[in-house]
């Protein structure tokens, strides 16, 4: 038998290229999506900027310097020779002389941290609830009605109530900034997992009737193994997409809270805070509104594009088209 085995082999086509891994395929597809590529690049850039930026641009964002107040960004000198510009403040300074570049960097840190943390929480909760509800029939009704219940909670009023109730104990235990961070992240996290849960449940319901799950079940695989081995990898693409959308929502919600003045302490910069502080002087100093606003919009936009690209790339049926 040993000599025979070599013979049929020669009739088979010999693979000329090394086998492609699934992730390489995903990456190839993702690269075709120009928007997603730009989005990814920008998100990487902005994340690095807020992480490393404060070490390179070491101006203290909270440092006041009244003598250097109301400085315009350096680029205004291009069309307005008389503008008050100063290389020490490339993006200008606010009405108390706080450096805008430094504020943008450290404000981005807070906004991005809130966004990522809230997104992770909501994705984890949403996936767990969705998978469990979809897989175990008995829990389905209970979990999904609970999802409907949470879905009907309006997030901003809920946040306002939570801020009133929990601000003091959290502040006492974690300090004003961390306490507020925990509160905001927790509230956004636990009020934005429902979409993920619904999508995941739907996918799981369809998947668990498929042959490969039946096969796995028939060889005695435990439900937990089925979930981790067969279901989760197959629902990864909707999870990824809703995760990116969740990040965007979280950044916007935090901005809204800062804008309403119930978020972080008033001297702790976040993009939303910078934006709201600048509104009264919007006409004279448009850059103070435009810059943080642009940051929020671009980040959210790029994240949405990434989500779009990921959806295309992760779905093998779309891949290659």
């Amino acid at each position: 038998m040993t000599d025979q085995s070599a013979t049929p082999k020669s009739f088979e086509p010999v693979p000329t290229a090394p086998p492609r891994s699934q992730w390489a395929d995903v990456w190839r597809q993702f690269r075709r999506h120009k928007g997603a590529l730009f989005g990814g690049g920008f998100l990487l850039f902005i994340t690095l900027a807020v992480l490393i930026g404060p070490y390179l641009w070491t101006v203290d964002p909270q440092k006041l310097n009244i003598r250097f107040k109301d400085i315009r960004p350096i680029y205004t000198a291009l069309w307005d020779g008389d503008a008050k510009v100063n290389w020490a403040h490339p993006l200008g300074s606010d009405n108390l002389g706080r450096d805008i570049l430094a504020n943008l960097l450290s404000g981005g840190r807070a906004s991005m941290a809130v966004g990522w943390a809230a997104m992770v929480i909501s994705v984890v909760i949403g996936t767990v609830i969705g998978v469990v509800a979809g897989f175990f029939k008995r829990l389905d009704g209970l979990f999904m009605r609970f999802t409907d219940l949470v879905l009907s909670l309006p997030i901003l009023p809920l946040l306002l109530v939570a801020v009133t109730l929990f601000r003091q104990p959290l502040r006492k235990n974690f300090g004003p900034e961390t306490g507020m961070f925990i509160l905001i992240v927790a509230i956004i996290g636990i009020t934005s997992w429902m979409q993920t849960a619904r999508i995941v449940r739907g996918e799981v319901l369809a998947l668990k009737e498929r042959e490969f799950v039946l096969a796995a079940r028939s060889i005695g695989t435990k439900p937990f193994k089925i979930i981790t081995r067969h279901l989760l990898p197959n629902v990864l693409s909707p999870i990824m997409v809703s995760a990116t959308l969740g990040l965007a929502t979280a950044i916007i919600t935090e901005s809204a809270l800062s804008f309403l003045g119930v978020g972080f302490p008033s001297d702790f910069p976040t993009w939303g805070k910078l934006l709201s502080d600048a509104v009264p002087r919007m006409e004279e100093f448009p850059e103070r509104v435009v810059l943080p606003g642009l940051m929020i919009s671009l980040t959210v936009l790029s994240v949405n594009y990434i989500g779009d690209g990921l959806r295309d790339a992760l779905d093998p049926r779309i891949r290659g088209r």
Binding site: L64, Q168, P169, K172, P265, S266, P280, E284
Partner: protein
């Protein structure tokens, strides 16, 4: 929500009638915006300026102060004085005689029984009346006849115009509030939200912390007034939005208290739809030091009450150092411009009561540091924050949400960090902060913070009641439903004695001297109150609204009955 009602307001504003003030209601509708939304229309239950001023459209005192601080009769024909026999020779009683034929907005006659009832209402021992200091020293209020009320004081009152004078002490209708005495006062929601009054307007619809719809009072004493048939008092938003609504878009006719940076107001005024108006009075932006411990670890009955003295701020040296670190000139420049001047006094005007005290004017960082060292606060662990016995010199500094106030907070935080004090900033929505709701932890009366900043003033030209607010026992506390005016929980028997002495002194110059002494006791001697800026009041009215006289001595809406539409 705000923008929706703005458009509704502008549509209504279009329904303006033609000229003239000849007839009641002939000028249609007027829109007023208060960026702090009124939460109650009973000034006896809330000391918040927005509540007092909104109420002043509906309920009126017997007399008011005009723009110069002079007394003007409202529900009476003349202000009682010693000369006309209304005030007794020995200054211990004052007799008010109501106008004849006065009617409440429900058509029933106003009698001296209402006046007496109002006094009982505020002086009720269980009540926790927010304006109790106006009734300081009142022994009895008697009905002499249908229209005459005699108020007797426990001692000669050189300034007997405490009760029923000025917007904070109006007359309530006895029939309406009869069941609302004492601890039941806050429960009478109907009466508190919809008081029957004698003012030019009556409430049609009141949504707390939002909007009040009013209509002309059909029983108002002057048949030709008010010129406006209806009035909308929109509350909430922020000072910038209010300023824009009047100055730039013209959607509103009157905006109250535009606490905005000077450059912002100037820019808005270029909109040309209205004009800012300013006047100096007794309004002082100040830091209030909490002399009691606001730590959340204490139980609700002890926290921020006199049972627990403040662990840091009980020390005069610390309070003084905090004041020394502040550069008031710079605060004025950043926040108020022409509409403010630095001050070290709680009572900046009138002249006879204004202390020459200027010791706080120059910033002295080094002096402040030395003072803290002396008080035992040293930076032992080298983190830039002083400590003593393992406790950090860290303060929570709260105020209402307002761009100028947040700028002040940032500046003051910076100066305090230079002297090694760590500051945590907090800002609370103004409607809540000044709302006086005993259930909320965030009111300025509860003072669950170490330092807080706001502005306050006194009505009229005599600061006696204002200074009497700092009497021992007058502090907000759980037993009084957190009402009370002694925000700092200041208590000094010597000061109380001076309150009593002031109440007994008739000669204006003597009164002035005493007033100055008391003012200095609260400010430069104890730094219980750290005044920052003597603020001019800046409001704005549209170009088509006539008859506005900005009054810093009483409610800004004091003469709303005289407002009319110009074309």
């Amino acid at each position: 929500m705000k923008f929706k009602s703005l458009t509704v307001g502008s549509v209504l504003a279009l329904s303006m009638a033609t000229m003239g003030q000849a007839e009641r209601g002939s000028d249609g509708h007027v829109n007023v915006i208060y960026w702090q939304a009124p939460s109650i229309l009973n000034p006896y239950l809330s000391a918040g300026t927005k509540d007092v001023e909104a109420s002043s459209l509906v309920v009126e005192p017997l007399g008011r102060y005009d723009q110069d601080g002079a007394l003007v009769p409202y529900l009476v024909d003349e202000i009682p004085t010693v000369a006309n026999g209304g005030v007794s020779e020995d200054l211990t009683s004052i007799t008010w005689k109501l106008k004849e034929g006065l009617k409440w907005s429900d058509g029933t006659p106003v009698t001296s029984a209402d006046v007496k009832f109002t006094a009982d209402y505020c002086m009720h021992p269980e009540g926790g009346c927010a304006q109790a200091s106006f009734f300081d020293g009142v022994v009895s209020v008697e009905e002499i006849d249908e229209l005459t009320t005699k108020i007797t004081f426990n001692q000669p009152k050189p300034n007997p115009y405490g009760p029923f004078m000025g917007g904070q002490s109006p007359v309530l209708q006895a029939a309406q509030f009869a069941d609302c005495l004492g601890a039941k006062a806050p429960e009478c929601t109907d009466a508190n939200f919809n008081p029957v009054g004698t003012g030019p307007f009556r409430v049609k619809d009141f949504r707390p912390n939002d909007v009040i719809q009013m209509e002309a009072n059909p029983h108002y004493r002057d048949a030709a007034k008010p010129a406006f048939a209806t009035l909308t008092l929109k509350g909430g938003g922020d000072a910038a939005a209010a300023g824009r609504a009047v100055l730039e878009t013209g959607e509103f006719d009157y905006a109250w208290n535009l606490q905005l940076a000077p450059d912002v107001i100037a820019k808005m005024a270029e909109g040309g739809k209205g004009k800012p108006i300013a006047a100096f009075g007794s309004l002082v932006e100040r830091l209030e030091m909490n002399l009691t411990d606001p730590s959340p670890e204490l139980d609700a009955d002890t926290r921020a009450t006199t049972k627990a003295p403040h662990p840091i701020l009980s020390d005069l040296k610390v309070r003084k150092a905090l004041s020394m670190a502040i550069d008031r000139e710079l605060l004025v420049e950043v926040g108020y411009g022409q509409a403010g001047r630095p001050t070290c006094n709680l009572v900046p005007a009138p002249k006879v009561f204004a202390s020459p005290n200027t010791d706080c004017m120059t910033q002295d960082i080094e002096g402040a540091k030395a003072l803290l060292e002396e008080a035992g606060w040293t930076d032992t662990d080298g983190d830039g924050v002083r400590d003593r016995d393992g406790k950090k010199l860290a303060l929570l500094y709260q105020t209402s949400t307002n761009a100028v106030r947040q700028d002040f907070q940032a500046l003051i935080k910076q100066w305090w960090s230079e002297i090694g004090v760590e500051t945590e900033l907090r800002n609370i929505d103004a409607s809540v902060f000044f709302g006086g709701d005993p259930g909320s932890p965030d009111t300025f009366q509860k003072f669950y913070a170490d330092v807080e900043m706001y502005a306050n003033n006194f009505n009229g030209t005599d600061p006696q009641q204002y200074l009497a607010a700092y009497r021992c026992g007058g502090e907000p506390k759980p037993e009084s439903q957190w009402q009370g005016e002694n925000i700092n929980r200041f208590c000094d028997p010597a000061y109380d004695a001076m309150i009593d002495k002031l109440a007994n002194t008739g000669d204006l110059n003597e009164r002035g001297k005493l007033g100055i002494q008391m003012n200095e006791m609260l400010t430069k001697e104890t730094y219980t109150i750290v005044p920052l800026v003597d603020r001019g009041r800046v409001s704005a009215h549209s170009n088509t609204l006539g008859g506005v006289v900005l009054n810093t001595w009483d409610s800004e809406l004091w003469n709303a009955a005289d407002w009319y539409r110009t074309e």
